[in-house]
Symmetry: C2
Subunit: 196 residues, 2 copies
């Protein structure tokens, strides 16, 4: 199996799992190995969703459930690019497809400031989880200085449309944001032409 | 409400209805007015899915359920273009968005030949249904000689991947076919960029 079939199978698997349980722990435990399988092969992401932008990281929607129960996004980090400190408000799984990603988790202190944990380096094929239950505030950046990195993220909602927050690293002050998406079209998971 | 929001709402409505009933009759009765509403406004279909081809009609996937319970397709008929006689094997609803469509229903006779009903003309805003229960064999063509027509179809399966049949109009002989789709990308139903 190559190409888009891997993404297609992962979308279907996610849809089945999301419909099958209301337990975040059960879901993440079942979905993480599926995401690991997806990012174990770098032969399926269409080129249009792998393109870095000179200015800012890109977030390409690959699939969103029409009832907004989950979404799957390709994050493309050019050299030196990364997110502000932000939260999610829903569960999320991150899998590195290409290159490396640096993740810094933040814990909110009683006085509202943020405490940064040591950076964690995720290499291609590795996954990590976030959620309001297990720790929801982090910043992610490209772990490589000389080329692009790509990670595939799955969320328990339509992440590009969720009103959530970015945080000031000094003061911990939260500011509303809605991330949106970088793309107007998403992959057809069944691109085969007819065989009449 | 304008633009892609109409399609987005229709996809969500279809997903909800398909999950809510196993009765084809109940589903079609509930979904037909939603499709009528969708095709009552010609301001939402992205141009890429409205382009006619000089040679043959186009079938652009707009959305397919990852579990293949339904699909939504834009059919674009250039002048003089139409389908062969074919079946579907699942329920289908047709709504004309732009121009006019001619539909000829066929009934299979005991000797295997097909009996054609008088052509029916569907105008923009009108809908019709097909299914193995209510009549599944027809041919559709552009009802206008001088310009393109576009109809939006919804099916109770992933129509581009279903093994079904085309029929010889003289003998009624069935031949397997899989229609496929004409496009590699489908609309992002949430195309808004971020608002940080
Ligand atoms: Fe994040
Ligand atoms: Fe048809
Ligand atoms: Mg209008």
């Amino acid at each position: 199996m190559t190409d888009i079939a891997r993404l297609r199978d992962f979308v279907a698997e996610t849809a089945r799992l999301v419909a099958s349980t209301t337990s975040e722990a059960v879901l993440l435990a079942a979905l993480a190995p599926k995401l690991e399988e997806l990012v174990a092969h770098d032969d399926w992401l269409p080129e249009a969703y792998a393109v870095a932008d000179g200015g800012r990281y890109r977030q390409y929607l690959l699939y969103a459930d029409p009832l907004e129960r989950f979404s799957i996004v390709s994050f493309v980090w050019g050299p030196g690019q990364g997110t502000p400190i932000h939260d999610h408000r829903v569960w999320g799984l991150v899998g590195v497809l290409r290159g490396e990603e640096l993740s810094v988790s933040h814990a909110r202190q009683p006085d509202g400031t943020l405490h940064a944990a040591p950076p964690e380096r995720l290499r291609a094929g590795q996954t990590a989880a976030v959620s309001p239950q297990i720790g929801d505030i982090h910043a992610i950046s490209n772990g490589l200085a000389d080329r692009s990195s790509i990670s595939i993220h799955v969320y328990g909602g339509n992440i590009g449309r969720i009103r959530r927050a970015v945080y000031d690293s000094e003061t911990g002050t939260a500011k509303d944001f809605i991330s949106g998406y970088s793309n107007d079209t998403v992959p057809n998971l069944w691109p085969d032409r007819g065989a009449a």
